[in-house]
Each structure stands twice: as structure tokens, then as C-alpha cells.
């Protein structure tokens, strides 16, 4: 546009209404939550810590070449060496292979438990928060009562009734785990249902289901996702703890908890047997916590303006 030839004092052609709108409209904000997550050191750190674990879960056992239950009786209780990278346990089994087998179990139990918690929590918290009134009171009191029951006693009773194994383990972990998620969901919904866009949707005739799934849950995603990310490590730890107590996974299957249990007995003489499971439990939990922090940061500001 060569304005030099135009008389500078001549009137500027009025911009059309369309150009008015576009000339001053706010440019699309490319800094969405995903972007922001990767820019935060904590979130990135968590992802970096978690990545090698995930990789080794996949390729670990094949790398070492051993089976998790293969006995090498000549090499009982060997410290870490080139043959056995993490050493061996008292039955000569390769700890490296068992760690990654255990990882599969521990992490899948953790993820599964977290998802179950999510499902129940969304349902319970969603209905309680949206409907409110008497129903809300009743539902929340049930949750409160469940929450205050002595956890360990219940788990022991359950194991007696259901027998030990994966399913009873899952039941034990999720029995009270969903309550935190339900409370978070309910809290978010109580907050959001006062917003004008909810009133507007109601005014248009939206029913409760539509309100929940199209308006409330999507906007509550931030805290829900964060809680989900933090539920995983507590589920992993719960599994480890229960297996450690002998209530969860049984031999010859390995989980980090069972390995830690076995390792504790031999701590004085063969410390690596406790060291590796403990290290990996800690690293995984830390990784998920850091990812949770990163998510908190990412979602906290996704609705704000670029630089305010």
C-alpha cells in the first residue's frame, strides 16, 4: 500500500464494519494448555522421569533375555553385575527382569484403579453436585462414612472374603479411593453451576444430562485431570503397600510391593534387593506428582489473557 502518493490530509476511507471487527479482534491464543504444560519445568521433569520407565516396561524383559520366574540357583543373591544388571534374589531370579514385570503390574493396577475411581467419582460427584438438596446430603454422608472406616481392617476383611489376587486388590484400592475424586468433582460442579452459561443452557431447555456432559464436565476437566494424575501414584503405592503386607499380588508374580517385601528381609546382607524396587516406586510416584504439578500450571491459566 503506497500511501506516499495519497494526500496525507485526505480522509481515510471508512473501514467497513467487517474490517472493524477483524482489525481489533483478539488473535487466536495459541498458548493452550498443552503448550503451557511443556513449558513448565516441573511438568517436563515429570514426563522425563516417567519416560524411561515406560520404555523399559516395554523392552526391559526382552533386553535382559531372562524370564521373570527363571531360577539361576548358582547365582543366588548376586549383587548387580554385567550378567545380572540389578542383581539376583534368593532364588536366583534376575531382578532387572522382575522389576519390569512388576512395573507392568504395578502401573496397570495404578492406572486401572485411578480410572475406576474416576468413573465412580464422576458419577457420584456429578449427580450429587448437580441435583443438590437432600440427595446431595445423603450421598455425601455415605461418602463420609465410608471414608472414615478403618481402611486396613476393611482390606484385610476383604482379602479373607474374596481371597487375595488382582481383583480383590483392585476392590480394596478403589473402595475408598473414589471419594476424593467425587469430592473434587462435586466441588467443581457446585462452583460451575452458578455460572451464567449454565443458566443460559437451562433457559434454552437443556436437561441434566446435557448440562453434565456438555457444560459441567468439560469445564471441570482441569482439576479432575490433576486429581486423576495424583490418584495414580497413590494407587501404585497402595498396591505396593498391600502387596508388601502380603495381601495383594502373590508369588511367583512380581510387583514392586512384593519385591520390596522380599528385599526388606534381606536388607542387611543384600541391600540391592530393596534398593531397586524402592527406587522405582519413588521415581514413578515423583514423576506422576510432577506431571500433576505441570497440569495444574497448564490449566490454571488457560482461560486468562496472554500476558495478564
Amino acid at each position: 500500500m503506497h500511501l506516499e502518493d495519497k494526500d496525507p490530509w485526505s480522509p481515510l476511507a471508512p473501514l467497513s464494519a467487517q474490517t472493524y471487527e477483524l482489525a481489533s479482534h483478539h488473535s487466536p491464543d495459541t498458548t493452550n494448555a498443552w503448550h503451557r504444560f511443556w513449558h513448565h519445568p516441573l511438568g517436563k521433569g515429570g514426563a522425563i522421569l516417567l519416560l524411561p520407565i515406560l520404555i523399559f516396561i516395554l523392552i526391559g524383559p526382552s533386553l535382559s533375555g531372562y524370564n521373570y520366574d527363571a531360577l539361576h540357583l548358582a547365582y543366588k543373591n548376586q549383587p548387580p553385575s554385567t550378567l545380572f544388571w540389578f542383581g539376583t534374589d534368593d532364588l536366583g531370579r534376575d531382578i532387572f527382569t522382575r522389576i519390569w514385570y512388576g512395573a507392568r503390574i504395578s502401573i496397570s493396577v495404578g492406572l486401572l484403579a485411578a480410572l475406576i475411581d474416576l468413573g465412580i467419582g464422576l458419577f457420584w460427584g456429578g449427580i450429587s453436585g448437580l441435583v443438590g438438596g437432600r440427595l446431595d446430603e445423603v450421598m455425601m454422608r455415605i461418602a463420609d462414612i465410608l471414608y472414615s472406616l478403618p481402611y486396613l481392617l476393611i482390606v484385610i476383611l476383604l482379602t479373607v472374603v474374596l481371597g487375595s489376587g488382582l481383583s480383590s486388590l483392585l476392590v480394596a484400592i478403589t473402595l475408598t479411593g473414589w471419594i476424593t475424586m467425587a469430592r473434587i468433582v462435586r466441588g467443581q460442579i457446585l462452583l460451575l453451576k452458578e455460572m451464567d452459561y449454565i443458566s443460559a443452557a437451562k433457559a434454552l431447555g437443556a436437561n441434566q444430562t446435557r448440562l453434565l456432559f456438555f457444560h459441567l464436565f468439560p469445564n471441570a476437566m482441569g482439576p479432575i485431570l490433576i486429581t486423576l494424575t495424583l490418584t495414580v501414584p497413590s494407587a501404585i503405592f497402595a498396591e505396593a503397600f498391600l502387596s508388601f503386607l502380603g495381601l495383594g499380588i502373590q508369588a511367583p508374580l512380581a510387583s514392586w510391593g512384593t519385591m520390596a517385601n522380599e528385599g526388606l528381609a534381606a536388607l542387611q546382607f543384600y541391600p540391592w534387593r530393596l534398593f531397586f524396587p524402592a527406587l522405582l516406586i519413588s521415581q514413578t510416584m515423583l514423576a506422576f506428582h510432577l506431571i500433576g504439578e505441570g497440569l495444574k500450571f497448564a490449566f490454571d491459566q488457560s482461560c486468562q489473557e496472554a500476558f495478564l
Binding site: L3, K6, D7, P8, P11, L12, H39
Partner: protein
Amino acid sequence: MKSALLEVENLHLTINSSSKSVKILHGISFLIYPGEIVGLVGESGCGKSLTASAILGLLPSSHIVTGRMEFERQNLHSLSHKQLSLLRGTRLSLILQDPSLALNPLMPIGKQLVEGLCYHKKISKKSAYQIGIRWLQRVGIGDAAERMSQYPHEISGGMKQRILIAIALICQPSLLIADEPTTALDVTIQSQVLDLLQLLQQEEGLSILLITHDLGVVARCCQRVMVMYAGQLVETGSVEQIFTNPKHPYTKALLQSRRSLEQSRDQPLICLEGNPPRLGKKMSGCMFAARCPSAMHICQQKDPPLEQISEDRSVQCWLPQASRESS
């Protein structure tokens, strides 16, 4: 020639974030003399609150402030944090828009009122308390002695704002910056609070920088007014001059759109098209050109100059020069 209480010259504000550097205020210059109420009027996002924060030194380190700022002959840039904070509350005070957010909900009113007094003037708690009670009476709060021990949640919005005025004035500052002090209040209460501000201003001889978006407030209280748009002062002058003979097209449009409410419903309101530019977006030339009904080609090419029409009157626009060119 009395000397100015507050001198601001060429104030620029840039915000540095991790990814970019955004210029918010572009060359703000003005003076405030003792004993006058000056209005700073503009719409949301024009930077008026940021200007106040910049003067008071309340901005985080990511906000870079350049330009000369002198208060009572002291260069505000050269003061340390401690000196600045001593200045705030004693010589230079601030009241904000939402009174419910400005009071500590866990502390009784009396304590918050005399806190500053005790800290800055080293007066005994007892005498400070008495001064506090007298100030509550001055701002029109009945049962002042009882109110001193009440908590903010026991008090209405209008009364909270009066208490905030008392807190701001108890150390007898020479300049009060009031940022939208009545926007959150009901209309009848707004009237009372504005009357109070004017009364105290006369009694104490203080100056007030009254920041508002409401032209009516300016018409009622201010002697001089500055109009702000997109981080720049587009017009300054006395209230009579600006309201009867606005020179900048933005000021004209603001006044016309508000005044056209008095005509009949059949006539559409005179209004500005488009939206105010987002803070920080700098376009070449005049920021208002896209919406200006009198825009010329030069307005898009070059920044408009500051035209000093008379001693107290200035406008940042190409129109005065254009009319000189044509004659």
C-alpha cells in the same frame, strides 16, 4: 507559579514476559498541582489503573517503567523500596474499586484504620485510636466508637468505602489516587461518597487523581481531566473546556454517545464502531485511526503530535495541524 505536586513526564510501561515484550503505556505526561481534583478517564484496558500502579511503584519487576516521575520534588525512581513504602500511606495514598477486597476480613476495623498511623507516625495506640474515631465520624459513620471493633463482614459496601477513605487519609497525604472508587457502589451511595471526597478534599487541601470510566463522575468532581486511549493521553484540559469543546474525536464520541441517551428512542444512539484495541498492540500511526470518523491518511502513517493548544490544554491528534494546512 505554584510548583506541581506530581510531575510525570514521558512515562512508558513495558511488560516483559518469557516470550515477548509488550508496550502498554506510551509516553504519558501530566502534572498535578496541590489542592485540585484531576480526572483520568478512559475505558477498560486503556491503562489508567496501570498508570496509577506505576506511579505508586506497585508493579512487579517484569513491568519496566521508564520516564520521569517526581512527587513533592522527589524522584520516585531513585527511592528504595523502603522509602517508597514509607511514602505510600503517608504522603501518597490509594483507594481501589472494590471495598470488600481491600479490607482484611480477620482484623477489626479499628486496627486496620490505625495500623498505618502507628507504624508511620509512631503514635501511641491509644491516641491513634482516638484519631481513628474522629476520622470515622468525619467520613460520616455514626456510632464510630462501636464500629472500631467491628469486622468488615458486619459492614455494608458504602460504609466500607468510607472506611477505606478514612484509612487513606488518616496520615494526611498530599495526594490521593482513587481508582474507580464508586464503580462498585449503588447510585445513591455513589453520590454520598463523591460528596464526601469533595468535602474532605476541600477541608484537607489534598489533591485527588480520580480514575474512572464514568464521565458523569468527572463532570461532578473534577477540575481538570485527562482522557486516555490505548495507553496514551489523547486529550487534557479543564473540565469545562473538554466537556463543552472536546477536540479529540474519541472524547467527542464518548461524550456524544452518553449524551445521546437524552434523545428519543426513535433516534439510534451515536456510537463508536469497533472495539478498543487490545492493550499492548501498537499499530503504526494513531491508535484511534481505525475507529475515528475524522481519520485521514496521515493518521495511519505517523504518530500524531502533541498539540499544546493553551497552557492547560493539549490534544494528541493530527486534526489541528490539518486545519492549519488547509487554511
